[in-house]
């Protein structure tokens, strides 16, 4: 069962193509990381999926509802944290939440109950009767996330949920996101914080107008960087590159000052041979470790490849 499905979804503004041929299937209960540079069309995609703007082409279903013909159902089912918190400064934290809760069809009592729950969860309860205008950026962000969750949406769209938060608050938000997944909710996470995406996401989509890649973080790494080993040496690494390149199971070697990054076909079988070959030439090996490239490296590589193809 997919929570979000897109088929050749596209959006054009006059002559500008913002989103093209987006095919996406996000399983229910997953955290999907939607990554891409500024101006890639991420906000337009989120707006289409939240039934705020209509696609120019293709179709999408969110929580089983068609975003065009069942837009009201889509809006009632999803929760959204927009790019800016968009709170009413003269209203208190509690009034802001109750207002939106009532708009989402909650009774006054239920809205107050849910608001109290989230205000406590985000440690804003003591400030519940203060006007939001006096809140810090982090407090406003937490309140906006609470607003997105107030009506118990099954799918939550979060645009940069930890932007501007201090490390403790960001950690609390990440914890909430994990809790939401544990409750079976689907999270559509737009973020530039790749470490956060790496920690949270089950599925990553790298996007620039078109979907460049869609896979789990582990598979993305394996696809781009294969399985690699990092050999830390006592001396300079560069002179050893020609020797390592000659080994049949090595597909790529990159030398750092005192380390070699070696891409292998089967590390468990190849590592002993590799170590023996290096020791035979007199290399002093300090240690060998599996190399896991960061998601940032994967992301930049994907965008670089896509730019090269486009050029």
């Amino acid at each position: 069962m997919y929570a979000i499905e897109c088929h050749r979804l596209g959006r054009q503004f006059d002559t500008l193509v913002a989103v093209a041929d987006l095919d996406l299937a996000i399983p229910a209960g997953a955290i999907f990381g939607f990554l891409g540079p500024n101006g890639a069309g991420k906000t337009t995609t989120v707006r289409m999926l939240c039934a705020l703007i209509a696609p120019s082409s293709g179709s999408a279903r969110v929580a089983g509802y068609d975003v065009q013909s069942q837009a009201a159902h889509v809006r009632a089912t999803v929760g959204i944290l927009t790019e800016t918190p968009g709170l009413y400064d003269s209203l208190t934290a509690l009034e802001n939440l109750i207002f939106f809760g009532r708009l989402y069809g909650l009774t006054a009592d239920r809205a107050a109950e849910r608001a109290a729950h989230y205000l406590r969860l985000f440690e804003l309860w003591e400030r519940r009767n203060d006007p939001v205008g006096g809140f810090s950026k982090g407090m406003r962000q937490k309140l906006a996330i609470a607003r997105a969750l107030l009506h118990d949406p099954t799918i939550v769209f979060l645009d940069e949920p930890t932007a501007g938060l201090d490390p403790a608050a960001a950690r609390a938000v990440r914890h909430v996101i994990k809790t939401l997944r544990a409750d079976g909710r689907t999270i559509f996470l737009t973020t530039h914080n790749l470490a956060e995406a790496d920690e949270l996401c089950d599925l990553i989509g790298v996007f620039r107008t078109r979907l460049i890649s869609l896979d789990t973080p582990t598979n993305l790494r394996a696809r781009l960087f294969g399985q690699s080993a990092r050999i830390v040496l006592a001396g300079p690494a560069a002179p050893l590159v020609p020797l390592v390149q000659q080994l049949p199971f090595v597909s790529e070697v990159v030398a750092e000052e005192r380390a070699l990054l070696v891409r292998l076909t089967d590390p468990e079988r190849n590592n002993p041979t590799l170590v023996r070959a290096l020791v035979a030439t007199g290399a002093d090996i300090c240690y060998l470790e599996p190399f896991t490239p960061s998601l940032e490296a994967v992301y930049l590589e994907l965008l670089h490849d896509e730019s090269a193809v486009a050029a």
Binding site: I53, I80, G86, F100, L103
Partner: protein, 263 residues
Amino acid sequence: MNWERIIVLIGKEWLELRRSRGLLLSMLLPPLLLPIFSLGLIFAMGLVSDPDTADIPAAAIDPALADLGLEALAQVIFGRQFATLFLLLPMVIPNVLASYSIVGEKNRRTLEPLLAAPISVGELLLGKVLAAIIPGIALTWLCALLFAVGMVVVVVDPVVPALVLHQGWIVMLLLASPLLALISVSLTVMISSRVNDPRSAQQIAGVLVVPVMLLFFGQILGLFVLNSLVALTFSAGLLLLAAILLWLATRLFQRETILTRWR
């Protein structure tokens, strides 16, 4: 239409208004000064006897004023002019409220979360319109009531109140006021899509005073007497204008247009 959502939205609008003391004062003070100022001048008119009053065109064309003394005549003529000015209130107050409400939401970037909620744009627009119109009309009628009650106190002749607060004026208050308020808010919605400052929206919507000024000067120049027929004809014209502007405002107040075209 989900009236519960509309009422919730109106409640939020009024709560924001109550919290904004500057806006509240600027909305309440000038309208409340109008009856006081008008009654003071009408009272002063009753103290002086100016023979030129009978030559004012407005006095000449209305036979009902023929037998009045000069002081009472002056009170009726100026009273009618001031009474016309009350028609500015249902335009000015909703214009101020709607411009702060809509342009304010746009500036604070609160429109997107609002539009993401399961509220239809029709409900949203209606909520915004009613939240601006209701205080405007209520305040207009309250000020008009103060004016009417005060008239009884300040006049020199007991027939003056009936001649000032005539049927035409009552029709204008009951029929034209809501229409003028609707026209004002519709125009404000349209302007709000193009400007980023509530004051700009208010200034551009200032063009709305023109029809009321036509009434004001038309009366004093003796072009017409604002009787029931003139008031109904004027209201019919306003109804047509309100329908056109509301249709145009509805066209601009669409979820997608607001998110992608409003600047």
